[in-house]
């Protein structure tokens, strides 16, 4: 027995299925955040945010991890941004789109997709052991910097390429040199794109576990210098959850982590919007 389903009917069926699947997708994604928040908000208190970690995380707060995360991320971005943006500027403004640029862009494209554990593997043997930097904020930041450089190169390159040639012509015809043009016209104009890349990198660095646990270590002490080992929020959360040290603290830590990341992404989003409205 065969049914012939008319185009109208199939349209309606398809619509319902699509709607259902979309709703499921959205619900699942929201459920994950909601579930963590529901269990985590009860844990949030001033004490939790400002106290030292005690008993391997069973007691006390997460201040050392918050500071460690901040340290590692900021240092990574400080290292990666000039390198990434500088490379992108060089590629777009100085290489005339030749073979070199294609090869480098391709390499950056590929490395942007390399799993973070490979960066962890590299960072552990190279920075921690061979360069004798030990498990430290410095090792962690360097590893993360290498990890986010490709992303920053790629997004900055796209943003810089998008600056109209006419802007450069104007700058030159007003007597600007190449450096003036790059510094005062090209970079400010491509700033939103560059910023997006940097902020994506920040988000990736904050949430990263695999590359950090082997390089920044897992010490719970309060970091005092770039040579201190630290346990970032993501790593702390991973260890709490996985070793069942304290599910309550795990939820609390995850909540803080997610809030920070959503906040960073949100700020990026707003910033870009403001910038676009002002200039375009």
């Amino acid at each position: 027995m065969t049914f012939r389903i008319g185009p109208r009917t199939s349209q309606i069926i398809a619509y319902i299925i699509l709607l259902l699947m979309t709703i499921i997708t959205i619900i699942v994604l929201f459920f994950i955040i909601g579930y963590v928040f529901k269990n985590g908000f009860a844990q949030l208190s001033l004490e939790f945010l400002t106290d030292r970690t005690r008993e391997m995380g069973k007691e006390g707060g997460i201040l050392p991890s918050i500071i460690g995360t901040l340290f590692v991320t900021v240092l990574a971005v400080i290292i990666a941004t000039p390198l990434g943006v500088g490379s992108a500027v060089y590629l777009v403004e100085y290489t005339r789109g030749g073979l070199l640029r294609r090869i480098i862009s391709f390499g950056a494209d590929c490395l942007a997709g390399v799993p973070s554990i490979i960066f962890g593997l590299f960072g552990f043997i190279f920075f921690v052991i061979q360069l004798k930097l030990g498990w430290s904020i410095l090792s962690g930041s360097l590893t993360l910097a290498v990890m986010i450089i490709p992303t920053i190169i790629r997004t900055s390159e796209e943003a810089i390429k998008a600056v109209p040639l006419s802007y450069r012509e104007i700058s030159y015809s007003l007597g600007g040199g190449k450096l003036d043009t790059i510094w005062k016209v090209v970079l400010p104009t491509s700033l939103p794109g560059i910023l997006t890349g940097v902020i994506l990198g920040i988000g990736r660095a904050i949430g990263e576990t695999a590359a950090v646990i082997f390089t920044a270590g897992s010490s719970l002490g309060m970091p005092t210098s770039v040579f201190s080992s630290t346990r970032t929020l993501a790593v702390h959360f991973y260890i709490l959850a996985r070793e069942g040290i304290s599910m309550e603290k795990a939820y609390g830590t995850a909540t803080v982590l997610i809030i920070i990341i959503l906040f960073v992404n949100f700020v990026a989003y707003r910033l870009m919007h403001r910038f676009m409205e002002r200039y375009y």
Binding site: I79, T81, I129, G134, G217, G244
Partner: protein, 262 residues
Amino acid sequence: MRYLAIVCMLLLTTCSQRKGGIIIAGSTSVQPFIERVAERFTEENPGIQVNVQGGGSTAGIQATFNNICHIGVSSRNLKGSEKALHEFLIAVDGIAIIVHKDNPIDDLTIEQIQGIFAGTHKDWSELGGESGEIIPVTREEGSGTRGAFEDMVMGDQIISDACLVQDSNGAVREIIATTPQGIGYISVGLVDEREKALAIDGVKPTLANLLSSQYGFTRPFLLLLLEEPSGKVKKFIEFALSKKGQDILKSDGLISVTEIGK
């Protein structure tokens, strides 16, 4: 330019502080215990920060050789060239075979345990328990605890590929605590109320049995140094071996070095 300046400043202002702390690295089994000792130590010596890393026994030994940490920790005896390091025994740890707290089985023979981990026993009913698939959980290749378990329990049997693999005592414990059919092995000191430590050949891993060596599945916890201890490192080792330090370790279920002789 500004970037360079900031980076330089960070490095300069902080370089000197590296000397202020002690970095300890190695066995994840020892980490929770040494962390507690370190916490007390810092309370009594506020100037000295102690950083405790995991990584594993072998990594700890390596780190000590490479001077990446001040003190290495190992949960197994040193082998071959590793013996060049100075070692300090701070405690002895028993390895407990644990199952979920609702598991009716209290006692297994060493052959039965071998059978479970080698993959020959597959169902709890074979061992007198309620019928259900046995889910053995082991440690990862290279772990000190796994090494000790293989030496002491498995003998010439090989741990089956079908076992779940976790990379810390805590992770193993967490699975056993939540999996009714699970069985695994962790430090005696870490067993809590959610799981049950089994007697092996009728001997339970109680403190008394551990002390009297009736329960033979024990291993040393070692602190390792590249050179003779001095300064703050010496202070820390002395603290760990002092009555205060040993009491902390004892209260966590380890056998204090002072009791071993008895």
